[in-house]
Chain length 369, copies 2
DNA sequence: CGATAGACTGCAAACGATTGCAGAAACGCT
DNA sequence: AGCGTTTCTGCAATCGTTTGCAGTCTATCG
């Protein structure tokens, strides 16, 4: 079948062990034989068998990335970034789709460690914490994007509190007083943290938090649709909606289309995490970018370090954050008075009038004074 | 570290070989010892080491799926389907992103065979035909969605000629005489085949093929935008556009939004391959479904069969097609049929008759095309 | 010139499983 | 009881590498 080390050794008239040492560079080998062997190996097209090697060394040069699904565009770019990074240092990346099913995730997990992966980056569903914790003894693990509270694994998170804060503040600075929030389930890290960022921005601006403006739900488009309808049907509907639940975005857009709502003229819209077509949507949709590339890079950094420092256990830091940033496009508009259509005359005398740094809002088309 | 076969054998006071035979079920083993061993193995938490097993058997129980990217939604569902299917028969699926880079694809390919994968399903870029052909000697390979002309690999294709034919015929049956086609590069299987299906439907209906209505381009949104503009700017623009290039769809939608064109009142739109948000877009977009799930299933079927019938080489059939079907939603509209009885070439401009579709046509704030 | 360190090299034993072959036990039959 | 079958079990080799240990060779020094 394929060329083995033995073949190379025979061709070079040395023993297998010498060949091994020469090719791996380990051990003492004379300069000459080393060069000779690499040449011969190349000529013969020798490729070391990772399986045999793995059996002996206990390593596989395989790193797995386990995500629950790939519909979220961020995961696609993360996967690509990671694959490139890992390949550069000699690892093959295994991308596995865990599904939302706990059993499925669990099975995949054991299959992976059976295969003696050298490292694992996982977006935990939170349903297999115990297993993850146990596995962490055998293989370096880094959690991504979500924290699993049942473990104390090293975790790389988006700075969701900050991202949600930035987004909300942006809308407030544009003059919005009633900002609807559609956010994810409150039993997830991101769900909670984004809500808190939203609240913080409101507080900071002295705007009271109105519970009727906040909708938390599952990570599916339907959530977005129903939440959006409820928001719009409010007696005093919001002048801006912050969709801080990526998966809900489609549902929101659907309702907006259904009702022929003009964005941003009738309603400002801000979303979370980019989609490739957002900038081509009319109007182009402004977003809070959670920094997927940075997340991916940091996760790989952490994992590699962890894999190197095999024995070294608890090294202090367990949680990393990567910054979020606002990407302004055309779906948010400056308004003067908060509620435009609701009859109630709003006391426009906002107390601590924020808007100290209006920032050059991108081509604000209609900032009537 | 982990429990080995030796541990189990010792605990059961039998030899390793007996333990192996009992647990794998191969060979002759007494019913009693078999049960006893399985029990002990379970108690000890024994998990066979796939690496060691692989070294001996030459198999890895790993199957790879290599795609060039995951942005195409079809690939995501295919990946999920395949993973589930393969897991059910005891294989772990490796999902690899080849990128559009030939070198990258090539590297990944060799890494995979180095790891002794048992099978490979690949969406070939067409740039590594020679390598694929060589690899096919070592490992069963099935091509998916695209054919690599440099090889004679077994290939599972969508029925693009039929799909394009169905779509075009649908539009024709709705009364459209001028159907614009936006299609992929003509050096790809799908690009050519979809064009041919379009032409066939036209011919069959006695409609002359107008080259100015046909735009072939790269698999990127920009293609869709520029093609769409050109079509709309024609002296006699089409009354329907068939976007048979999935990746171009976003560009088309963008132009339609830009120009405030009312779909389907002013223009009928038919796309190829679903996206999860198509049914929520307003209007919901009709598509030709290429049958991603079926494709995935068939590919797995073929691969598994091929993996079983190891030695058996050329078994005749080399190309499989899975049927396409039309999914009618709201983006295509019947227009006044020019002539029901004779093929009278009637150049009359379609009048804006609103009678036909009772649906709440969207405000129609726009002028005519 | 011989001893000795130092630099390489080869032998052989792992790693954890599978598997051909031969020996042992159990069974039925005359 | 003796014999041939059948049924099970164990020994040992093997897959392709790595690696501890011991042996060989060269060169250097006294």
């Amino acid at each position: 079948m394929s060329v083995t080390l033995k073949d190379v050794a025979q061709a070079a008239r040395v023993s297998v062990s010498t060949a091994s040492r020469a090719l791996t560079g380990t051990g003492l080998t004379s300069e000459r034989t080393q060069q000779r062997l690499t040449r011969i190996a190349r000529e013969l097209g020798y490729r070391p068998n990772p399986i045999a090697r793995g059996l002996k060394t206990g390593q596989s040069r395989l790193v797995a990335l386990l995500v629950h699904n790939l519909t979220n565009a961020s995961f696609q770019v993360m996967a690509e970034v990671m694959q490139a990074r890992l390949k550069a240092v000699g690892y093959q990346m295994l991308l596995c789709i865990g599904g939302d099913d706990a059993q499925q995730e669990s099975d995949t997990l054991t299959a992976l460690v059976d295969h003696r992966i050298d490292g694992l980056i996982v977006v935990p569903t939170g349903k297999n914490g115990a297993q993850l914790k146990a596995l962490a003894k055998d293989v370096p693990i880094v959690c991504l994007v979500r924290r699993d509270d049942a473990t104390d694994l090293e975790t790389v998170l988006a700075d969701d509190p900050q991202g949600a804060y930035l987004g909300t503040r942006h809308l407030i600075e544009l003059g919005h007083k009633r900002v609807g929030l559609i956010v994810g389930r409150q039993d997830t890290t991101s769900g909670r943290e984004r809500l808190s960022g939203y609240v913080r921005a409101l507080r900071e601006a002295g705007i009271p938090v109105d519970d009727t403006l906040i909708h938390a739900g599952h990570f599916v488009p339907e959530t977005g649709a129903t939440s959006c309808r409820k928001l719009l049907d409010l007696p005093r509907p919001p002048s801006a909606i912050f969709v801080a639940n990526h998966e809900a975005t489609l549902g929101v857009l659907r309702v907006i289309a259904e009702r022929n709502i003009a964005v941003p003229d009738d309603l400002s819209l801000l979303c979370y995490e980019d989609m490739p077509w957002f900038e081509w949507h009319r109007p182009a949709i402004s977003i809070v970018d959670n920094g997927a590339r940075d997340l991916a890079n940091l996760a790989v950094d952490r994992l590699l370090q962890r894999m190197d420092a095999k024995g070294t256990g608890n090294d202090g830091v367990r949680e990393y954050r990567v910054g979020a940033r606002l990407v302004q496009r055309d779906s948010c508009r400056r308004i003067e008075v908060a509620s435009t259509r609701a009859g109630k005359p709003k006391p426009s005398i906002a107390k601590p009038s924020a808007a100290k740094s209006p920032s050059k809002s991108s081509a604000a088309k209609s900032a009537k004074v």
